[in-house]
């Protein structure tokens, strides 16, 4: 079964944890142990985290909707991370791909 670190590395992790917890100053030894875990464990490489920020800092977002490519067409999907401000926007889960007609944006409140 893939995606499972080797059992044999448990002792390495236990030793490393004990050193860290004891505030051990021997960084070189700890780095050696850590590299064993990384090299031998085939740990899943984590992609860099996408930065998240306010709606206007993201070129792929309009308000609470994020741009997504679906069947090679652009749709906008409501971002669940912005759920708290959903009530400030139209109650629309998804803005579908652009069709031939014009689209009108309504601004304002109440």
């Amino acid at each position: 079964m893939k995606n499972r670190p080797a059992e044999t590395l448990k002792q390495v992790a236990i030793e490393l944890s004990a050193l860290i917890s004891a505030g051990n100053p021997d960084n070189r030894h700890m780095e050696e142990l850590f590299s064993q875990l990384v090299v031998n464990a085939s740990l899943p490489v984590q992609p860099p985290q996408e930065e998240t920020g306010p709606a206007n800092s993201n070129d792929d977002a309009i308000g609470i909707w994020n741009k997504k490519l679906v069947n090679e067409k652009i749709v906008f999907h409501r971002d669940t991370k912005k759920r708290e401000i959903w009530p400030l926007w139209a109650d629309v889960r998804e803005i579908g791909p652009r069709k031939e007609g014009k689209r009108i944006v309504l601004l304002g409140n109440q």
Binding site: N3, K10, A13, F34, A41, Q46, H77, T80, E84
Partner: protein, 583 residues
């Protein structure tokens, strides 16, 4: 002997005070901070525990923490969840838990660390009232263990076998929860509620996710699980297995999703029943204590008791990680005194704060609310409330000490008539603001429970389901498979709630009320009178019965207050819901 028990830093942080072996206070931090599942060190909860006992931190003999940070760190390093950059060696703070406890509380006494699953085991066995019992703990993960098999005897607990991470029934359940578009760590009970709407059509495919092994062991097929990578619970292969992409969290629920939920629930029950036979053989006890987040799956608990080998089952009301605080304190008590903390069964879940009539009155006087004062006339308060329930009104019920654990049991409850066909939809949409498929629970007078439910024992903590056999129509609390999650109400445990249901019974011939937690979707259960009044104003609750006072919606103009309170931004959940809270 004063021992503080703490669970913290991952989710559902909580604190309890154990005095000479007796739990005198216990509460989750989220109830004070108003941050759902708050993982922070329970600063406010500790303050409450000390204040309520009239002691200070200097009077504490020991602080017990619910898991072993060093073992946990080892597992995190092994699994790679902390990342692959050596920079993490510089960012991990040695002894963070101990330093945080000492710095935050100004405490210089002994601190004891109990293993996570020992905390779960102790939280159940030591308060079960059993002299001996098999002990099964099942959750996502603690340090290394995800499931343990043990035995309790007198004042001793022995863990006999454990299943190690990443093989985890809790993480299996959470993974499918995430695939179904619900949040990990809080959506699992929605999956349980959805399951009765489906058929186990995907059971064979579900079985391919996990391989049963000898003794208590099982092994997840990690081909389908992504949680080791730390950003998603499942892999693309899991989506291919079921032939559908994951559901977006606000997308429609379809029959497919209910069928997946049902298949998962059936699989979980099969495994727990199979392993309960193994545990019975291993221990020879007819009693079973369960704890861990999976023990909150009341449907599975009922199946284990009905179809498994054990004659009696005990699950304490905070079986999740919050309850680990109780277990850690109990284990520390055992270690320090060599005596069992309690021989009696936990007699009350009401371990949280209460507010005097004077405090409540002071709050109400500071508002523009019109209210009825029933001070000194409890009969009148109960008669009016029972009458209004029978008229189809929804009641916010705020009385006495708050419950410990995720279930509202008649202290911070929303109450209604279970015979009313429209009640379920009304409470779901207008009050709780939650998914319409989720059922509500009945609270029934203990001595009349057997007339209405297929239940031959007490269920005071609402942690078991059974079939409805009542001759009364009870659509608001009967699930689609004719089951109900029953709370038996006992006068010695909660006299006021018992008397209210009795008054309703006298009026209607129905000894049952609908009982659900007093909160709205995504928020913690109300704790203080202020929380209760806010929840009353911003929802469609008809009547707030708070201490000696009754506030009726139809006798108040709440529009301005509603507008004011609606502008208050809701606090975000304290934890992420894409993956289990490993770190």
């Amino acid at each position: 002997m004063n021992i503080i028990g703490i669970s913290a830093f991952f989710h559902d942080s909580a604190c309890c005070l154990l005095q000479d072996g007796k739990i005198t206070a216990a509460v989750e931090e989220e109830r004070f901070s108003r941050i759902k599942a708050d993982p922070a060190l329970p600063r406010l909860a500790v303050k409450y525990c000390l204040d309520t006992a009239g002691i200070s931190i200097g009077d504490i003999d020991c602080i017990a923490y619910y898991e072993n940070p060093e073992k946990k760190l080892a597992r995190q390093l092994w699994s790679g969840v902390l990342g692959t950059s050596p920079d993490i060696l510089k960012t991990i703070k040695p002894n963070m838990v101990e330093r945080e406890i000492r710095n935050t509380f100004g405490y210089d006494g002994p601190i004891k660390f109990a293993d996570h699953h020992m905390s779960h085991a102790a939280s159940s066995f030591f308060f079960s009232g059993f002299e001996d019992s098999a002990i099964l703990t099942v959750d996502g993960v603690g340090e290394w263990a995800t499931t343990t098999y043990g035995i309790g005897n007198g004042n001793q607990i022995n863990i006999l076998e454990e299943v190690a991470f990443p093989d985890s029934l809790g993480l299996l359940y959470s993974t499918i929860t995430s695939y179904l578009g619900f949040g990990v760590n809080d959506g699992e009970y929605k999956v349980m509620g959805l399951a009765p709407y489906g058929k186990p059509l995907y059971l064979d495919k579900m079985r391919s996710l996990i391989e049963m092994k000898e003794k208590g062991q099982f092994r997840l097929n990690m081909h389908y699980f992504g949680f080791l990578a730390g950003n998603k619970m499942y892999t693309e292969e899991l989506c291919e297995l079921f032939g559908r992409p994951p559901r977006d969290d606000d997308a429609e629920l379809e029959t497919f999703h209910a069928d997946i939920a049902k298949s998962l629930q059936v699989l979980l029950e099969e495994i727990l029943i199979e392993k309960s036979y193994y545990l019975h053989e291993l221990t020879g006890s007819d009693n079973l204590c369960m704890a861990g987040g999976v023990a909150l799956n009341c449907v599975a608990n009922g199946q284990v008791l009905r179809k498994g080998p054990f004659k009696k089952l005990f699950v304490q009301p905070a079986a999740n990680d919050a309850g680990g605080a109780i277990g850690a304190a109990a284990a520390a008590h055992m270690e320090m005194t060599n005596t069992r903390p309690a021989y009696e069964r936990l007699s009350s879940p009401y371990l949280g704060p209460s507010y005097s009539s004077k405090q409540i009155h002071k709050l109400l006087q500071s508002t523009s609310l019109e209210y009825l004062d029933c001070t000194g006339d409890t009969e009148r308060l109960l008669a009016i409330t029972a009458q209004r329930i029978s008229e189809g009104k929804v009641i916010g019920w705020f009385q006495g000490k708050m419950e410990f654990g995720p279930r509202s049991l008649g202290a911070r409850s929303i109450i209604a008539d279970p015979r009313n066909e429209t009640m379920r939809d009304r409470i779901n949409s207008m009050v709780k603001k939650r998914e319409g498929f989720r059922p509500f629970a009945p609270a029934v007078l203990d001595h009349k429970a057997a007339e209405h439910f297929d239940l031959d024992h007490d269920s005071p903590f609402m942690l078991e389901t059974c079939q409805v056999i009542s001759s009364l129509p009870l659509p608001a609390i009967t699930h689609v498979d004719n089951s109900a999650r029953v709370q038996t109400v006992h006068r010695e445990m909660n006299p006021l709630f018992f008397d209210l249901i009795t008054a309703f019974d006298k009026l209607t011939g129905c000894p049952i009320v609908l009982n659900t937690s007093f909160n709205i979707k995504g928020e913690p259960i109300v704790c203080s009178p202020e929380d209760a009044v806010k929840c009353f104003i911003t929802t469609d609750i008809d009547l707030l019965v708070i201490g000696d006072f009754i506030i009726q919606r139809d006798q108040n103009n709440l529009m301005n207050l509603f507008i004011l309170l609606s502008k208050e931004p809701a606090k975000a959940s304290g934890i992420g819901h894409d993956v289990y809270t490993f770190v």
